[in-house]
Symmetry: C2
Subunit: 316 residues, 2 copies
Amino acid sequence: MKAFVAGGAGFIGSHLVDRLIAQGAEVTVYDNLTSGKEEFIQQHNENPRFKFIKGDLLEPALLNKSVVGHDLVCHLAANPQASEGIRQTRLDLEQNTIATYNVLESMRINNVGKILFTSSGTVYGETAGAPVNEEHGPLLPISLYGASKLACEGLTSAFASLFGVRAWIFRLGNVVGPRATHGVIYDLLQKIKKDPTVLEVLGDGHQTKPYVHMNDCVDGMLLCLRRAQDPINLFNLAPSTTTTVKDIVRIVLDSTSHKDARVRYTGGVRGGGGWPGDVTRVQLDCTKAQRLGWNPKFTSNGAVAQTIRSLLEHGS
Amino acid sequence: MKAFVAGGAGFIGSHLVDRLIAQGAEVTVYDNLTSGKEEFIQQHNENPRFKFIKGDLLEPALLNKSVVGHDLVCHLAANPQASEGIRQTRLDLEQNTIATYNVLESMRINNVGKILFTSSGTVYGETAGAPVNEEHGPLLPISLYGASKLACEGLTSAFASLFGVRAWIFRLGNVVGPRATHGVIYDLLQKIKKDPTVLEVLGDGHQTKPYVHMNDCVDGMLLCLRRAQDPINLFNLAPSTTTTVKDIVRIVLDSTSHKDARVRYTGGVRGGGGWPGDVTRVQLDCTKAQRLGWNPKFTSNGAVAQTIRSLLEHGS
């Protein structure tokens, strides 16, 4: 298999690359390194099955040339900061929606037949914390990040249908694990390192979400890629358990031995959320992936705890 | 009320403008006249409550300036040719998705608090002809037109949620009526005018869809705008009846007195559809709008017959 991984130097992308290389695939990483890092993929530099192209998805000429000859595109490139849309409203449109159009168009031009796309549970918008499966509607995202992921799903679906591409779309929970470069765990660890006496936490602490460990996430994607063979394959991927921000704060303080730090919650902007557009209570019903054999090893709390340990050991 | 109607010189837009003017509103039409026509709105030229700006939604500077001072934006501008996406894959991304982003951004900048957006039943993708209501999922459009309308819904939802805009989103059936400039009825009338002996029909004739008459469509939108006051209001709008393409052919031949014309079906490209991306069997459950008091006067067949009469009388 020749896999092209857009965003392959990023947080999730680089882990997927590790696994694809371990499985014997030839892998081309295409990344503009705005949030991805060369150090996440440098372990493969000497491998003849590995190739890195520093490129932007908003440069179609380079992209179209680079995609030639692959049989699977894994598209994980995106603006990773879901909270940023309120300040830069065009960001997600460009880096997610238009970039994804360019990826799909490059596949059409070059007859690449398969795409794996990482969407997000944010497409569901407010669901009052009820578990939602892949058939849930209406889809009314409350962030521009969620809106752009929904747009990308629609584009993927239409290209798949019109041009005979097979698609695997994953609506991920909050992915955590080694190499995290953003997100609540990363932010809290940075803050407590700076000032071990006070920990400021966005929101009211009651935000409740499923955190999926990177290993489970990559397991799930590769398992569904092997076993699901519909023209369009759509899966939620998250553990059935959830974690509150208060839980995360507790695990962070325990793990860093700063149990005496004063915790200050900023208060919620929307139902207790940390930022406008934040869906505060999320639960993804992943029965569909489980029926296919996906069996995540980490609970949500377990994924959080292991991530904190890993970031403290290896730095973030 | 000061209403800004993007696409106000178009097929649906111009009818909405007629009604808004009749209700006493001040109306600004913003249209690039690529598919809209000045003759559709010229009846209002002398009205001091009417203003026309020839402008493109892809020119943000002009758009942002023009939106100032309105309290409702009705956004009906779009590429009207849903079948064109397969040839020009970037068309719907530009004219629908990016244009809609520009509209929403102009509203944010200028503090306009309400948007009416015309989406489409094509967001549902293949539904095997089962009636679908607004909660149907997953949304896997099979045309780039449908994908772009889904993207616009997501953008509208996110802007509404982030910036306090109230939104009315309408997933329309096939809208027909006077001033049609595209669509199956228009195409068949053009063809039979050119050659009254042979009528070539795209697909196998079994495509089955709900055709909603323009008057009912505009009634429905204005009724929901008055009566539905959720932050985001999403409605299907179509009659509960449907019409096959064979029915349309029969009504066209009857109405044009060309009953002896030989009808040649091209055969279907996808489940009998006329073009790739065509959803061949559609039924929209409109209970939600009906509960609010919407009571369409035309059946689907009635809407088709009245449209044919009107286009034959007044030209198309």
